[in-house]
Symmetry: D2
Subunit: 368 residues, 4 copies
Amino acid sequence: MAGSTYGNIFKISTWGESHGKALGVVIDGCPAGLPLCEEDIQLYLNRRKPGQNSLSTPRKEDDLVEIMSGVFEGKTTGTPISLIVRNTSQKSADYSEIASYYRPGHADYTFDEKYGFRDYRGGGRSSGRETIGRVAAGAIAAKILKEMGIEICAYTESIGPVQINYENFDKANILTTPTCMPDAAASADAELYLKNCREELDSCGGVIACTVTNVPAGIGEPVFDKLDAGLAKAMLSIGAVKAFEMGDGIASAFQKGSQNNDAFKMIDGKVSKITNHSGGTLGGISDGSPLIFRAFVKPTPSIFKEQQTVNKSGEDITVQIKGRHDPIIVPRAVVVVECMTALTILDLMMVNMSSKLDSLISFYKDNN
Amino acid sequence: MAGSTYGNIFKISTWGESHGKALGVVIDGCPAGLPLCEEDIQLYLNRRKPGQNSLSTPRKEDDLVEIMSGVFEGKTTGTPISLIVRNTSQKSADYSEIASYYRPGHADYTFDEKYGFRDYRGGGRSSGRETIGRVAAGAIAAKILKEMGIEICAYTESIGPVQINYENFDKANILTTPTCMPDAAASADAELYLKNCREELDSCGGVIACTVTNVPAGIGEPVFDKLDAGLAKAMLSIGAVKAFEMGDGIASAFQKGSQNNDAFKMIDGKVSKITNHSGGTLGGISDGSPLIFRAFVKPTPSIFKEQQTVNKSGEDITVQIKGRHDPIIVPRAVVVVECMTALTILDLMMVNMSSKLDSLISFYKDNN
Amino acid sequence: MAGSTYGNIFKISTWGESHGKALGVVIDGCPAGLPLCEEDIQLYLNRRKPGQNSLSTPRKEDDLVEIMSGVFEGKTTGTPISLIVRNTSQKSADYSEIASYYRPGHADYTFDEKYGFRDYRGGGRSSGRETIGRVAAGAIAAKILKEMGIEICAYTESIGPVQINYENFDKANILTTPTCMPDAAASADAELYLKNCREELDSCGGVIACTVTNVPAGIGEPVFDKLDAGLAKAMLSIGAVKAFEMGDGIASAFQKGSQNNDAFKMIDGKVSKITNHSGGTLGGISDGSPLIFRAFVKPTPSIFKEQQTVNKSGEDITVQIKGRHDPIIVPRAVVVVECMTALTILDLMMVNMSSKLDSLISFYKDNN
Amino acid sequence: MAGSTYGNIFKISTWGESHGKALGVVIDGCPAGLPLCEEDIQLYLNRRKPGQNSLSTPRKEDDLVEIMSGVFEGKTTGTPISLIVRNTSQKSADYSEIASYYRPGHADYTFDEKYGFRDYRGGGRSSGRETIGRVAAGAIAAKILKEMGIEICAYTESIGPVQINYENFDKANILTTPTCMPDAAASADAELYLKNCREELDSCGGVIACTVTNVPAGIGEPVFDKLDAGLAKAMLSIGAVKAFEMGDGIASAFQKGSQNNDAFKMIDGKVSKITNHSGGTLGGISDGSPLIFRAFVKPTPSIFKEQQTVNKSGEDITVQIKGRHDPIIVPRAVVVVECMTALTILDLMMVNMSSKLDSLISFYKDNN
């Protein structure tokens, strides 16, 4: 209940602090028989790894994952998979100063209030490094979804004022631009903008968009466990995400019904929608069209500008944050968005398996 | 797991369809000793009741709640509270036609895909009447929070293009304007706008804002069960809500860190924030400042304009929805937002009770 | 969390007190498409109904169930099923006296300690009438299991010192003897014994045995959610059950491995066990042989003999319980055992559906 | 859901196989501020460690625990605690043979049925080594309970036919006899009995009793989450446990109410019971008297006698198990019983914190 556990059937528990010995995750409920090796997971971890380019913190970590259990002769066994990534580049000395005051925009104050004290080294559990566990687990969920033909694609849609032009969309760019933008030209603009931010000792926010294709219709549960609600929780659980929209979400609040409704039409003998304002769900349940949603990410709170704050003795002070910090969170959060999406969808697909009596009965007839 | 259960400790299960015998909720985990009568709950249900003014469906329902269990001699006993509201004004005949096709923007198609068939009368379980259970349970949660000095205030911030002017904010108006706007002038404009929508056989969306005052610092769990994440799920679980922001959520994605960070300052001997861009949380945990968030509501999908769709025989058809429908969902959803907020915060406050060993130990020392 | 919710996917919430308006249950997670009418449920409720013969309390209740939601045109819709049974024969006056003291063997004292006060009428929520909700929900689970060929058979194995003779086992007797014994001769002996108990103003305990046939191999989860563990919790959750054994459970603690192990043998081309000391599980997972387990039921605590106790003013007193009480709990608990078993097995069968990747993938291939 | 997760608020996820790299556990929900070092946990692990005396498997493992997260400057931080124990003495070659057939009394067959294949090395996840994670987590729970004055004491009550004499009960013996019996004379007899078992290439079962003192009244939730039910599940989740009784559980099924009821009496100004047949609960809620319960443990299924079984090709064969196996499971399971008890009680104590409104309100008044 302390909040590091996620999922109903494909259930994960993440652990670890920024400057502890290691970070990791236990996945309880992964189906048996999935071919799995460390490389499958490492590919995802590499996408969130620091020190890859000028946009990310100079902290260098290999973030090598080790599979500790749950895999035998190259396949998952159905029992818990434990994954560990050791910390190798902690510079706790950098953080000793922040033990004494509350950094604006960070969880220092709230952790102290909740727990009475905190592991202040690098933000401890509230550090972005916490997402290592999510990404490691999400890599496995994504692999399973891929086996079912379901593809998740998250990318940077905007950084500060710089937005991508969808006419320049090239999926390959997502993995090659330092911004994770699919539009190389916009990415170059964004890099310039970020260079300026950094020179001004400042940071900036951005928007991550995500699409999921081939999700079968019927996923998501009515009322509280709508697919939209699950994704909203998944996104807002990511440290710096402060808003979420499904499909045309925000815009739809300013539109008319005739603009927002998606008409149905038979296409290739299948019930289809001719538009997708809803972002792939109706009544919180997937409708067979692509899922489309966005996560709005706040600027990195660690800025080098002088800021006003309060120390633990209750005195007003001004501080200048030191340490190693990205000027923007977005590019490294793109893979986190993908992974949280994979975890959410796979879990709801498992939950959905008993929605029809016929399917339940034939499942046990066929599997015996 | 079918999704009608919500909460970890203050746990509710809602049930009922638009045109079934009744709707209701079971609350398992309400503390013992709360004075509770039907009037406490009825006040909230009356706020979502249809037929109250020109903006809401002409369907007239008294929506009278009956307490079936869990209250003895005027106080909650700690055991499950069962609440029932009988349906009295079903006109199922109105809906017989929609059995044969999929209404755009509704869950007809997705329920058929998920369950193989559906209760088509008035949308069945996907109807807005489903929220009766949430509101009845939320009224109790809100009463408990009030006893702790915590006040929740949701209101309509915009309807289509009409936004309130915060200089005209008068909380009393929320309960008296048909729009639930705190700004009477904006409300009058919105009514005009809605009259036009209706004349055009159309509907429109809007935005609900919500503030919560006096939440103690420390509520919300790190990582997956952040307060922001819990509220996001709560809001997106409401039928027509398609986006959520915490504090300056959306805007913060376009801002710099120096604009978005809230500086700390000692005020009246308390650690305080001089701004509240974050919406009352840091790292997903309440920081003692007011919670502020928004739910973005899509237009009513039931519009009287002709629409293109598909019938169950797989033919393209055009339809004109009949029946009784609000031109806007927002005003009646305001109380639903309040109630989902109450359920989410109270539950997280209960979850938080064992976060410090000292508090756990003294709890049992003091209570024995 | 207040403990009236049970199950992971086939999830139920029961509610109601002995002398409240009604009792009931909400089932969230019942698959869609099950033909269901009130008669299906009534048959089970009738088996636990009071006033049926000399062994049960003279309180006469029809205990008629009403389906309030979740069924449309004779079939479950996949959304919550709400079931209600109204109380009609409350004689609260009988109980006014017990408000002032703690009945030995009852939950009066512990409810006061936990909640600060209690609904003392007929034991309130701790009354055996609480099982109405379980039985109503269990009837549905049992119907689903039956559609898969799984049969549950619980019966009285002993009452006080009177044990059945398995050579006289006739399943039909379970539903016709007042003791629910499958051995008519033993049943007659037990009736005599109970008549003596009653004349001595006393009560007695007994043992309920239960077998389940045709459970497929593979049900139950390793480590904490073993099938044995689930059944143990299910049984001990029944008011008066104070012990549980799986297969030869108790005896096996006094045996040697060579006696207790069940040898495997190919029978009709299937891996089979030539004995079933384990009671149908290995490592907590069903092995395809029948499940066999026992619930040990304590004597009715409400006895008419004079007893020593304490009143709410903290004085030692002697009391003689009045009211309407069965001299034995066992016969009416037999159907409760069946129903808790059905709920436990069905839920674990749903949980098991994603244990193999192949099955998950082909499920979604086949259902699309 | 794969079953390796336990607890509602003090939630643990265990992982690891007998012959994998390591075993471990993540504890999510441990309160902040508990002084904790590896030695606290090691003391418990040493009690279940193999190779300590003639009764346990000659496999020598140090089973050294490493704290990977959740502790800072010697105190728990409230965030997940990850504990790891590396495997150092795997001899997988010993087990290669068992890959091809199903050992009687083991989970080989059921794992194959559930997952399609299994990690056969030493039983994989179904090995007794799985309990390392439980014991490591339980050591922490027990430490917290101790801080509240709650003491758990489990011990061996019988081995095969050898029972302890309660007149010889000396708690110190539990930690010093190889049998974990508190009666040194009985322990010597049991050792002789076990020597015979081993010479006969056989094994035997036994009974573990457990008492818990100072549990406050009011712990356990009505209906499904009774303290009795929680303990029953906890015990039956331990690999070889096949029966459970609370208090006089089994005997009470053969007794009269007048024998089984515990009379109340004021003692030292406190409501007390003059006997404790119920084992410390009433209506499934702790009554302030000591908890008393028993776990019945089957014989070690790995016996060296020739046994009849089936191989994976579906042929009847006879086998003689090799490898390193204890002739009895009981002594090493004693600490597992203690740890599962600690986990169950602590979690229910946390769940109970919001049972009274007054306590909830004053908790937040006092902690702000």
